[in-house]
């Protein structure tokens, strides 16, 4: 009987009159790797921001390790965040600090650990992501792949229970991407982390996921094991997997007037 790390219930997000997320509900089990996929504009980023507590939804609940983050006080949220790690899409490293200083920041802010301990912990994590030779570089001196690896090291420095990964493979070469996939699987198996990955790289997704959740136009289209998703009969899922371009059902007159309309 798996317990849930995160429970999302009836999540709705509106931007003015546009509905970005429409009644999303699903659970994320403890210790699993779940990949959230969907086309552009499907609402993946918004969903991620809500689960991270960076955005308050229009309505709904998100329970993480017992706390409803949509209605939690700031202190509660911060306590929860100490058990979470987030690796942002662009790395989001602090440009005024070296790589090592970036990684150590949570330790220095939230713990009283001795500086030797902090240094060894930093180096252990850097070694895990193969960045140990670069610990004293500044973020501006790193390549895209290196930034992402440093960001991952920062995300796991406090051995979080839940790890979030926003587009880990975007902009990486296939080899680095595969190494990252391996690392994600190792983190789950060894440190028993619950890992949530938002991506649109199909190969990575199928390589690492225990379950995949597919979003489309703000709704949860399907959620299941990679096998279940592969065998899905849903058109939208099949289009996504087969990389079918969106169809353009065109009305001749409509299109003509769109091209020639005076739009001032």
């Amino acid at each position: 009987m798996t317990t849930s790390a995160i429970e999302i219930r009836d999540l709705v997000v509106d931007y003015g009159t546009r509905r970005i997320l429409d009644d999303i509900s699903f659970d994320i089990h403890q210790g699993e790797i779940i990949v959230i996929m969907g086309g552009s504009g499907a609402g993946k980023s918004t969903l991620l921001r809500c689960v991270l507590g960076l955005k308050k939804p229009t309505s709904g609940h998100i329970h993480m390790l017992g706390t409803d983050i949509c209605h939690a006080a700031r202190e509660e949220l911060y306590e929860l965040r100490k058990k979470m790690g987030v690796a942002f899409q662009q790395g989001a490293l602090f440009t005024s600090m070296s790589v090592a200083e970036n990684i150590q920041l949570p330790l220095r802010e939230h713990t009283d650990l001795d500086k030797n301990t902090i240094q060894i912990m930093t180096r252990i994590k850097l070694d895990m992501v193969n960045m140990l030779p670069y610990e004293n570089l500044m973020p501006s001196e790193l390549s895209g792949g290196m930034s992402k690896r440093a960001a991952l090291a920062r995300a796991i420095i406090m051995d979080p229970k839940i790890l979030f990964f926003d587009e880990p493979s975007a902009g990486l070469d296939p080899i680095t991407s595969a190494e990252l996939d391996e690392l994600i699987i190792m983190l789950k198996e060894t440190l028993k982390m619950t890992i949530i990955v938002v991506t649109h790289e199909l190969e990575s997704a199928f390589a690492i996921a225990d379950r995949i959740a597919i979003l489309g136009e703000g709704k949860l289209i399907q959620i299941g094991t990679p096998e279940e998703i592969k065998n899905s009969q849903d058109d939208r899922v099949m289009d996504l997997l087969n990389r079918t371009p969106r169809e353009n059902n065109m009305d001749k007159d409509e299109h003509l007037s769109r091209l020639t309309q005076d739009n001032r």
Binding site: L52, G53, L54, Y78, E79, R81, K82, M84, V86, F88, Q89, Q90, A92, L93, F94, T95, L105, P106, E109, H110
Partner: protein, 262 residues
């Protein structure tokens, strides 16, 4: 026609929202800054950035303004035969008005714009989100040191400006135009009262806080304003806005404080 009114309405609402957010930020920081953790070193770093880096510009503009005042006042006073009061005229203008205002404007250009841009870039590259997700309050970590540093550095820079400017007036009046040194210096000492110094001090304290607050809020809350999704161009626009708004606010507050404290 309707569109114009529509735009006017939107702009007004946005402006009010921004003012509200800015004031809100001030209250939040005032509340948080008296609670641990107390981070002293970042404040010192910011004082260096704002204060030490602006020093050259302050020295140059101070000397120049002082000399201009010396020149213009001498010109006018000579017509009435009262060049003896040159010292008082220069000193009082500097201490009461030009010192605080010019210092503030120089700091806006030198440090305020840089700080706004820095926070704006941090916002669009998700660094501020990263802090939030690490359970480090970004307003306290990033903005608070800058506000405190503003309150500390601007009055100090103002003092330097005043000294250099009065010296500039001395240079023009006494050395170039031959006004009696005694009358310049003594006139100054006699007519400058504590209430004048106090006025200048209050102004520079308030300006220091005001310009840091506006520049920080503009950059920090960039994502909530109209430039939020414009990336690098948005940062440059928001920074320009910040400089203009801070400068105008300084001038307006200058009048307000002067009127209230007379």
């Amino acid at each position: 026609m309707i569109k114009t009114i529509n735009n006017l309405g939107t702009t007004t609402i946005e402006a009010i929202e921004q003012i509200g957010r800015t004031f809100n930020l001030l209250l939040i920081i005032a509340w948080k800054i008296v609670q641990p953790p107390y981070r002293i070193f970042p404040i010192i770093k910011q004082v260096y950035f704002i204060g030490a880096r602006s020093m050259t510009v302050i020295l140059i503009s101070g000397a120049t303004i002082g000399m201009v005042l010396g020149l213009q006042f001498y010109n006018t006073l000579e017509r009435f035969g009262s060049v003896g009061v040159l010292g008082s005229a220069v000193a009082l203008s500097i201490i009461r008005e030009l010192g605080p205002v010019m210092t503030a404007l120089m700091v806006v250009g030198r440090a305020g714009s840089a700080i706004c841009a820095e926070l704006g870039i941090m916002r669009i590259s998700e660094q501020i989100d990263a802090l939030e997700c690490m359970a480090i309050a970004p307003d306290k970590y990033l903005v608070a040191p800058k506000l405190v540093a503003g309150i500390l550095s601007v009055p100090l820079l103002n003092f330097v400006f005043n000294v250099v400017a009065i010296g500039g007036g001395y240079f023009v009046g006494v050395i170039l135009f031959g006004v009696a040194e005694g009358s310049y210096v003594n006139g100054m000492i006699d007519s400058v009262l504590w209430s004048d110094v106090r006025l200048g001090l209050v102004k520079s304290l308030i300006f220091g806080l005001l310009i840091m607050l506006i520049c920080c809020a503009k950059g920090f809350y960039m994502h909530l304003g109209k430039y939020g999704s414009q990336g690098a161009e948005g940062v440059s626009r928001v920074t320009t806005d910040a400089v203009v708004i801070s400068s105008v606010s300084v001038l307006f507050c200058d009048f307000l404080i002067g009127a209230l404290m007379s």
